[in-house]
């Protein structure tokens, strides 16, 4: 009896948590559909005027493009680096590897503000402050640990003798990595790529520190607009941000589902 009660209690808490985590979406999306010109929940009807406002000006288009470009480049870089590091860590059964893995994961542990401040200092010295390159590199540092973790998780369930098998069959180490190991951990690489994209796509803290006038990402524009002009357009932009993120995640989900079907 008490066990069943406990089980239902856990269920209730789980649902409450889920609701809590998705709550912002239930506020932001309705607000974006308000017919009023101020931040409010729609009471008199629904309107797409704030979405039309985004399309009407180029004000939002540029940050959108910048964010897409940055996130795209970061996804490529972080996926390549994170996967390569994870595969290397898996192959080298060396005690030093554990320490190195810790270093790679540091950006996840260090508070973003601390990272941001450090990056700001160094980026200025390197002359890449407020450049596309600087932004992409800063985001890549944040995004790589996600790839490293997901690929590492995929590798953990891979039979280590797969590599020996491949090499005994005549494949060099490089061929083995490209034709055997990478295809085997594809789900982990894909998941890591999605996480890397999302990490860069909605990154704001570090971006605020390493950019100024030239590089303007979407989250930064939202942040600034919220401070300067409180207007439901921000809610509309945020909704689009959520939709893009959801689409990327769904893309991953469906590619994986299709792979699972035998045949």
């Amino acid at each position: 009896m008490s066990a069943r009660l406990l089980a239902s209690l856990v269920k209730v808490i789980a649902w409450a948590m889920l609701l809590f985590l998705t709550l912002p979406v239930f506020i932001v999306v309705p607000v974006s559909l308000t017919p009023q010109s101020w931040l409010s929940l729609p009471t008199t009807g629904l309107s797409l005027r704030h979405y039309a406002a985004i399309a009407a000006t180029t004000e939002w288009l540029e940050p959108f493009e910048t964010s897409f470009l940055v996130a795209g480049l970061v996804t490529c870089l972080a996926t390549a680096l994170g996967s390569a590091a994870a595969i290397a860590a898996w192959r080298l059964a060396h005690p030093l590897v554990r320490w190195l893995s810790g270093v790679i994961l540091l950006p996840l542990i260090v508070p973003p503000v601390v990272s941001a401040l450090a990056l700001y200092r160094v980026w200025v010295d390197l002359g890449i402050f407020d450049t596309l390159l600087g932004t992409v590199l800063a985001h890549t540092i944040i995004a790589t640990p996600f790839v490293f973790t997901t690929v590492g998780a995929s590798l953990a369930s891979l039979d280590p003798r797969i590599e020996q098998a491949s090499r005994s069959l005549g494949a060099s180490v490089m061929t083995t990595v490209v034709r055997v190991i990478v295809p085997c951990v594809r789900p982990g690489i894909l998941a890591g790529a999605v996480f890397a994209f999302i990490a860069s796509w909605d990154e704001v803290v570090i971006t605020l520190f390493v950019t100024s006038r030239h590089v303007f990402t979407l989250p930064r524009k939202i942040f600034q607009d919220l401070r300067d002009t409180i207007d439901p357009t921000v809610a509309a932009v945020s909704s689009i941000l959520v939709v893009v993120t959801l689409l990327v995640a769904l893309l991953l989900f469906f590619t994986e589902e299709r792979r699972k079907v035998p045949g």
Binding site: R161, Q164, A165, S168, V173, V180
Partner: protein
């Protein structure tokens, strides 16, 4: 027409002084071993004996600290694994989960840049060899354990390897399937005609499959020889005990004449063939290994050879035979097996019996390799 898998002349392989240390522990301790072309050699030993290390060194995944590995007298010790052209079948098969059965088997041909047409012909040929034509398009994880095993074999044979290495290939299968695949593997070796090196801890597998068995212990080669020789005429206590079961009788040589020794064991006189131990001297301590099936219940006082008297301590029924443990004058717990025949009167616990065994039923064995007489050692390395 080329024969499927390992066509052309079979290759010989030799290990000379092979050594691998991990700190103070030697995983491989100076092994000298010669594998003849076309031979099925099994490396047998308990876990931790270094047998897998030896195989990994041959495969090229374990760099020896000292010694050489020779393929047809050509040193290959420093050749990377991918350049050795050895087939390797793993315990868990290590099939590529992302490739179909046919693509798994085609993989070694692809990395060798063999044209598609030739590749497909070879894959089909090998699939036929292991009788897996029907499952070529499936993924490995959709196959049974026995089928996966055959895919692993096909993949390791398709590129004409110089030597096929098998790392406990049957240990993941259940007993019945294992027995079936033992016969298949033996058959495959005959058809393919290449050099096979198998590593196992399963003595039954070693005895039924191999042309010769090399027995390892603590990284050292203890004995090597044909299964029947090792089983019937072991030279060391370890082999007599590890391969099958043996009773060990300790005694002292009293006298010697014409290849026959008289041994006093706990006050009992035994006649024992000297065998390989020609330079035995009176007064020397000896150890005799006696198989449980070489002892008989002596009927009505007659019977050749040595006689023992004892009391039955336990009787175990094992189906086709009985296993008796007896307290005798020379051994506290002498093990003997008695085949169950219609005429057999089942002995009871506490009953007193007279046993006999021939003078050549037992074998004199050494305590360790160092005890081996020089003639015996020379024969071992033959």
């Amino acid at each position: 027409m080329r024969k499927a898998g390992m066509s052309g002349a079979a290759h010989g392989l030799a290990l000379s002084g092979l050594t691998k240390r991990y700190g103070a522990v030697a995983a491989i301790d100076g092994i000298d071993l010669e594998v003849k072309p076309g031979e099925f050699l099994t490396v047998l030993g308990p876990s931790g004996s270094g047998k897998s290390s030896v195989l990994m060194a041959i495969a090229g995944f374990l760099r020896p600290d000292a010694g050489e590995i020779l393929l047809d007298d050509r040193p290959i010790t420093n050749l990377p694994a991918e350049a050795r052209n050895f087939g390797l079948v793993f315990q868990g098969y290590a099939l590529f989960p992302h490739l179909s059965v046919a693509d798994n088997i085609a993989f070694p041909l692809k990395v060798r840049g063999i044209a598609r047409g030739v590749r497909e012909a070879r894959v089909n040929e090998v699939l036929r060899l292991v009788r897996l034509e029907g499952v070529a398009a499936r993924k490995p994880q959709e196959l049974s354990g026995g089928q996966q095993q055959r895919v692993a074999l096909a993949r390791a044979l398709v590129f004409d390897p110089a030597v096929l290495l098998l790392d406990e290939p049957l240990s993941a299968l259940d007993k019945k399937l294992r027995a079936e695949l033992q016969i298949e593997l033996r058959d495959l070796h005959r058809r393919v005609g290449g050099t096979f090196i198998n590593v196992t801890h399963d003595q039954e597998e070693a005895i039924t499959l191999s042309d010769r068995i090399a027995i390892l212990r603590n990284g050292r080669l203890i004995e090597i020889g044909r299964p029947i020789d090792l089983y019937e005429r072991p030279k060391t206590r370890f082999v007599a005990d590890f391969l099958g079961r043996s009773n060990f009788l300790e005694g002292t040589v009293a006298s010697l004449a014409e290849g026959m020794a008289v041994i006093i064991a706990r006050g009992v006189m035994l006649r024992q063939a000297v065998g390989d131990w020609q330079d035995l001297r009176p007064g020397e301590p000896v150890l005799v290994a006696l198989r449980p099936n070489k002892i008989e219940i002596a009927c009505d006082g007659r019977g050749e050879g040595n006689r023992l008297h004892g009391e039955v301590r336990s009787v175990l029924y094992v189906g086709s035979y009985l296993e008796l443990v007896l307290r005798t004058e020379i051994h506290e717990a002498l093990l003997m097996t008695v085949p169950i025949t219609p005429a057999l009167r089942h002995p009871r616990e506490g009953e007193r019996l007279t046993m006999s065994f021939a003078s050549d039923a037992g074998v004199i064995v050494g305590e360790d390799r160092a005890d081996l007489p020089s003639i015996a050692l020379a024969r071992t390395l033959d």
